[in-house]
């Protein structure tokens, strides 16, 4: 019995594993090489219910709660090799669906949530800028009020789903001198004149999740598309990041479990110097470390589920989960390559790709250093 999820959630996870083995199964070597986004897989995930599990029924969701979604995400991470697709699903959920649900007007919710939930809209996040990454509130993109519109000018980078997005939650300042209290959030629809994808970005990992740079040039947004109050974009952003940091690594738990099982099987069957390599302490210890990491990561992620299902804040807990799980994920992914040796280093084995995908986890949604800053601040330091 799983100590972190109930029997119904275990069943959901098993169903997710079965679903992913079918709809998202097979090798992703070529897709990774070609940076190919799996639109069919996206639609299948939406049809399975992934995008609606934390959305109320009145907006087209299933209202099953966050812990159930985390269990499903873990299952998907275990059963598919397409971590890029799962990353795209996460970006969509935590930067579009949740902020719209929690900060949107009733009209915005009714307009966008049903289509974000059934997968017909793909969401992206426009926050980072070329000179505003970790120092996100130093953003330069300007929003100038003009009657019942805002005019956006600026450049956003590292926009996950950017090339395929139908909707962008974008952040801009109404006055750079105000710092965080000038930042305002907007919902920008694909095709809005003045918003263009300037270039697609080539990445080390998560290559099946498309990423782009966006340019806003005299882009007129109806004031009705402002998300939250003017100057309160930071609240929207922090809400988005709290959920994202706490939840985005649930899929990685599944990958870590798969890596562990694969490494154990390999260490038992691969023979060197006349015995299975698992009988060598150097190899066994490495696999034990992988097991310890997985077992210490899971409670941190499922703690977020419990807190959010109880409508409680989780800023510190989310930063701790993000920091610890991402660092563990990188180490376990490297260990998996080492256990497999030369075979692990070969692209066709799909083991080295987990490592490339894992490195991003210590960077996106705030680097490990930023997570430490958040925890330090929460301790009054």
């Amino acid at each position: 019995m799983d100590p972190y999820i109930d029997t119904q959630q275990e069943e959901l996870q098993r169903a997710a594993i079965e679903f992913a083995r079918g709809a998202l199964g097979g090798s992703r070597v070529q897709a990774d090489r070609e940076e190919r986004f799996d639109r069919e897989g996206w639609r299948a995930c939406a049809a399975f219910g992934v995008l609606g599990m934390v959305i109320p029924r009145e907006y087209g969701g299933l209202d099953l709660g966050l812990t159930s979604l985390l269990a499903v995400m873990e299952g998907l991470g275990y059963a598919t090799r397409d971590q890029g697709l799962l990353f795209s699903l996460n970006a969509h959920l935590w930067t579009n669906s949740i902020p719209l649900l929690l900060h949107g007007t009733e009209e915005q919710r009714r307009r966008y949530l049903p289509r974000l939930t059934d997968g017909s809209l793909i969401g992206a996040n426009g926050a980072s800028e070329p000179d505003a990454g970790s120092d996100i509130f130093a953003m330069r993109t300007r929003a100038t009020r003009d009657g019942d519109h805002y005019v956006l000018n600026g450049t956003k980078t590292f926009v996950t789903n950017g090339p395929v997005a139908d909707l962008v939650v974008a952040y801009a300042t109404v006055n750079p001198k105000l710092g965080a209290t000038g930042i305002t959030a907007f919902v920008v629809e694909r095709g809005t004149p003045g918003m263009t994808v300037s270039r697609c970005l080539d990445k080390m990992g998560l290559r099946t999740s498309p990423m782009a740079e966006l340019i806003f040039e005299d882009c007129r947004i109806p004031a009705a598309n402002r998300l939250g109050r003017e100057g309160r974009g930071v609240q929207v952003f922090e809400c988005s990041m709290e959920w994202e940091r706490g939840c985005i690594l649930a899929t990685c738990l599944g990958v870590m479990r798969r890596q562990l099982e694969t490494c154990v099987a390999h260490a038992r069957s691969r023979t060197q110097f006349g015995k299975p390599i698992g009988k060598f302490q150097a190899v066994a210890n490495r696999i034990v470390d992988m097991k310890v990491r997985l077992d210490t990561c899971r409670p941190l992620v499922y703690r977020i589920g419990r807190l959010k299902d109880a409508s409680r804040p989780a800023m510190q807990e989310a930063a701790i989960a993000k920091l610890y799980v991402s660092e563990c994920f990188v180490k376990s992914s490297l260990d998996a390559v080492q256990v497999f040796g030369g075979y692990g280093y070969m692209t066709e084995q799909e083991i080295e790709r987990d490592l490339r995908d894992a490195v991003g986890s210590t960077i996106y949604s705030g680097t490990s250093d930023i997570q430490r800053n958040i925890v330090a601040a929460s301790l009054g330091l």
Partner: protein
């Protein structure tokens, strides 16, 4: 409790735990000294809106209104008076 003391108590408990109240005077610079960064300022603004049932617009959150407790108190009193008149 005066508005100034309420603000002082909020800042001490939220952003300066363990600090002596004597070190946070009405004329102590808050933003220009780094005691309140822009995120903390936003936290204070949200608190003031809830505590005094006032609405603070983005353009009112500049350093002129939000650098010293005395300035913030004067700003809150002006907002309350304006809302009562309205």
């Amino acid at each position: 409790m005066s508005v100034a003391d309420t603000i002082r108590q909020f800042i001490l408990s939220r952003y300066l735990p363990g600090e002596s109240p004597e070190n946070l005077q009405d004329d102590t610079p808050l933003r220009s000294s780094g005691i309140l960064d822009s995120l903390a300022t936003l936290g204070l603004i949200t608190f003031l809106e809830e505590e005094y049932r006032i609405t603070i617009e983005a353009h009112e959150t500049d350093v002129d209104n939000f650098d010293r407790i005395a300035d913030i108190e004067a700003f809150v009193e002006r907002k309350r008076a304006a809302q009562q008149e309205a």
